[in-house]
Amino acid sequence: MNQPTPGQPAVPVLALGDVLLVSLQGELHDGMAEQLQHDITSRVATSGVTGVVIDISGVEIVDSFLGRVLAEIASTARLLAARTVLAGMRPAVAITLVELGLTLPGLVTALDVDRAMELLSRGGS
């Protein structure tokens, strides 16, 4: 189960130095989101990266399922000594999430991938 269906691109996960860059695009099935959570967690554990950037600028909606998956990726990565930054949320998605009641308090965000990388390289947060 959880194989990407034909025509459904796998989610690209790139290692850039100490950081894993994950770019989410378009429609993400629930099973794919769970698969991604698993993939990122094992990559963090085996590669010893210190940061994860999840680029959601290509994501048209975040509902409570995807929101929970993103929050769980961030808390699992933190336990494995990596910090997660969610980059590029669209304004319409942010407005909708607040109204939905999902404010994702544990998640660090940045306006785009460059700023997310910069945030991680500063080491703070």
């Binding site: 269906t5 099935h29 629930d30 409570s64 399922f65 304004p91 909708t96 939905l100």
Partner: protein
């Protein structure tokens, strides 16, 4: 142009993850055609995603019906999510933020209600659940200089 609802209703099955994605796409397309703006489209698709997932996960599957509306002043979209699953025993509790019986975040019903203009739940234990959500295209007075 007046539309009398039922004639143009689209029925979509809800039985898998892939069906949820299809419902989201259809709602998006329909909302865009009706003239909903980007933020309203995003709210509608998000509400649809929550409610369709409830139909799948809690209701054991069912269907969505999406219907374009026109009340003479503005256009709208009605979305019904229908299952013949276990029903909801305590609806008031189920509508509470954070309440879940299934390991979710408990924001689907209460959150979806906040994202639309009209919201109703028809449910009976042992018989099933129908959730109906309606939203209307926002009227921007400035864009209608001819009125008055």
């Amino acid at each position: 142009m007046q539309q009398s609802g039922q004639a143009s209703a689209t029925s979509l099955p809800i039985g898998s993850d892939a069906d949820l994605a299809w419902v989201r796409q259809q709602v998006r397309q329909c909302a865009a055609q009706l003239g909903f703006g980007l933020v309203q489209q995003t709210k509608l698709v998000t509400a649809a995603s929550e409610l369709a997932r409830n139909t799948l996960v809690h209701g054991g599957g069912g269907r969505a019906e999406i219907t374009p509306l026109d009340n003479g002043r503005t256009r709208g979209l009605r979305m019904c999510f229908i299952d013949s699953g276990p029903g909801i025993r305590d609806l008031e509790l189920a509508m509470t933020d954070g309440y879940t019986t299934g390991g979710g975040l408990g924001l689907g019903l209460s959150g979806a209600k906040r994202l639309v203009h009209e919201f109703s739940v028809d449910t009976e234990p042992g018989r099933g659940t129908t959730v109906t959500a309606v939203a209307w295209v926002a009227q921007v007075p400035a864009s209608r200089p001819g009125v008055r």
